[in-house]
């Protein structure tokens, strides 16, 4: 038998052989540089943000793009094979369906790590060059700017990670990449409206939905989150949803009859 790593290699080839993947990477790099440039040209020397503030603004804005691009890749992972018809040739190899699904998931996570590193490097370099003299004014409650920024990126990545798992799940359960992309983006954008209407401070049950826990960066400056939740509770809720998403993908993918 060949090695499992060659399955992941195959999946990577499928991702990076497509032009659109490179367009996404290019857009991500350009926008990560463009944000600090805009901050530089749109403000006078006195009101210019500091380097770490600039970096943080860039990360929080461009991470939406990062999430969208990762969701696009995650949505195509399984649904793409079905719409191309290639699933029939893929599943008749001497590999269990679980391993094929896992290889797809791993290649998708590798892509999200690549885009995140690209974003951080571009945003950091541009902020370093363009905004060296400004003053950092954001409250970081005792964290050093470097440590705070690193934790901030980590929190945003956790949110992306869960959204991508949702897209992956919809992709393998419904075999429709459009639905997977649409649903994931809907949740990204409606999340905050939902929290406003069904505030976990007023509605107990809202605490068990993932929405109010997805942004963990609040815990960097405060010990209690929305609805009086603790960091541990938030992570537990997110982990539970994550497990459910992956379990659903696995059950449906490994049992499904591939016909038509």
């Amino acid at each position: 038998m060949s090695k499992f790593s060659s399955l992941v290699h195959n999946e990577n080839i499928k991702i990076y052989s497509r032009t659109r993947t490179w367009i996404m990477l290019l857009l991500l790099a350009v926008f990560s540089v463009l944000m600090p440039v805009l901050m530089y040209v749109s403000s006078s020397v006195e009101s210019r943000p500091g380097m770490w503030d600039g970096f943080q603004i860039t990360v929080s804005v461009i991470f939406y793009l990062n999430t969208i691009f990762t969701v696009v890749i995650a949505s195509d992972a399984v649904a793409g094979e079905f719409s191309w018809g290639t699933i029939k040739l893929l599943l008749i190899r001497p590999w269990s369906r679980s391993k094929i699904l896992l290889s797809k998931y791993i290649s998708m996570v590798l892509f999200s790590l690549l885009t995140t590193v690209l974003l951080v490097v571009c945003a950091y370099a541009a902020s370093l060059i363009l905004l060296p003299s400004g003053r950092d004014v954001f409250s970081r409650s005792g964290w050093s700017p470097e440590a705070y920024s690193a934790m901030f990126v980590l929190c945003r990545y956790a949110e992306l990670f869960l959204t991508a798992a949702l897209a992956f799940m919809v992709s393998s359960v419904f075999r429709a990449s459009g639905l997977a992309i649409g649903l994931s983006l809907f949740i990204i954008f409606v999340k905050n409206i939902f929290i406003t209407i069904f505030n976990p401070d007023r509605y107990e049950w809202a605490n068990y939905l993932p929405f109010s826990h997805m942004d963990l960066s609040g815990y960097l400056v405060s010990n209690t989150g929305p609805g009086g939740a603790t960091l541990g509770f938030s992570i537990a809720v997110l982990a539970a949803y994550y497990a459910v998403f992956l379990l659903l993908s696995w059950i449906v993918f490994s049992r499904r009859d591939v016909a038509g």
Binding site: M1, S2, S6, L7, H9, N10, I13, K14, S17, R18, T19, W84, G85, T86, K88, L89, L91, I92, R93, P94, W95, S96, R255, D257, V258, A259
Partner: protein, 307 residues
């Protein structure tokens, strides 16, 4: 004796295979042995359950009841080892269009062990793709995709090659080439080929034996390339005559389409003819009725299609 037993061990056995979706039975209690070293046809009208059976054989869909054993390994309980001995195309060979033909083959080569660069080259030459192998698949014609499909199925030298309607969409020359290399593969590499089709004339030219399926049930398995002598006394001849009634009175036989059909042997023809002529019946022609697979098939299935 033991050597013989091993040689005649079927490559694949379908044992009471049933596929049910809801209350509808797509394939019912299908039992079939596919002997080694043959081109074995799987024949039936559209919707008879051919593709469903093939999908079960390669594990794309689950088996409701029964089992499929390939090279001694059950596809249900030992999927990876069973399917490792199979190369297949299920319906149209869909490839990654944004990759070249060669990159597509590499994808499948990586998923099994022991497929070398030389082997890939060998397979490309066998199916005759030549230098076009380095073009993107989106530029391929249907015939070329079909060839690439066969190439991916052969990469790992499978014991059993399963092709679902491989002649679909091919031009006459493509069909002929496919037939030739399937036969060559069977002869030279000893690969067993299991091929489904609804084109009877094609199957007649291509296969050693055929299994006929209708409405999910196996209705017959027969040898096509049997010894010629076997059917010597069973031949039928048509006498094209002017007066059917008096002809029947003279030589017997049955009336069919204003002609007389007589079951007899070749040597008796002149005598029968002489009887007719001396009896005043005008004979316009005498010819043998060749019962083609198509006639047999229509006879067996009653000419009906999908239920």
């Amino acid at each position: 004796m033991t050597v013989n037993a091993a040689a005649t061990e079927p490559v694949a056995r379908l044992i009471g295979v049933t596929k049910r979706i809801g209350s509808k039975t797509l394939v019912g209690d299908l039992t079939l042995d596919i002997p080694a070293g043959q081109v074995f046809g799987f024949l039936g009208p559209n919707g008879a359950g051919k593709t469903t059976t093939i999908r079960m054989m390669v594990g794309l869909i689950s088996i409701s009841r029964g089992d499929i054993v390939i090279g001694g390994r059950s596809i249900k309980t030992n999927f990876e080892e069973a399917v490792a001995q199979v190369g297949a195309i299920v319906e149209n060979p869909e490839m990654y269009k944004f990759l070249t033909g060669y990159q597509n083959l590499k994808q499948y080569a990586r998923m099994v062990s022991g497929v070398t660069k030389q082997r890939i080259q060998e397979v490309i030459e066998l199916v005759g793709l030549g230098s076009r192998i380095h073009d993107k698949v989106k530029s391929y014609s249907l015939g070329m995709r079909q060839r690439l499909g066969v190439a991916q199925a052969l990469l790992h030298r499978p014991k059993l090659l399963i092709l679902d309607e491989p002649t679909n969409g091919l031009d006459p020359q493509g069909i002929r080439e496919l037939r030739d290399y399937l036969r060559r593969l069977c002869r030279e590499e000893g690969t067993t080929v299991f091929v489904s089709s609804h084109l009877l004339s094609e199957m007649e030219l291509m296969c050693d034996s055929v299994a006929i399926i209708q409405n999910g049930k196996l209705i017959d398995v027969r040898q096509l390339k049997s010894e010629e002598g076997g059917q010597a006394q069973g031949r039928k001849f048509v006498f094209d005559v002017d007066n059917v009634q008096s002809a029947q009175a003279l030589i017997g036989g049955t009336v069919k389409d204003a002609a007389i059909v007589v079951q007899t042997v070749r040597e008796d023809i002149p005598e029968l003819n002489a009887k007719l002529v001396s009896g005043g019946v005008k004979v316009y022609g005498i010819k043998e009725v060749v019962v083609s697979l198509e006639d047999q098939f229509l006879e067996m299935t009653g000419g009906e299609g999908i239920e």
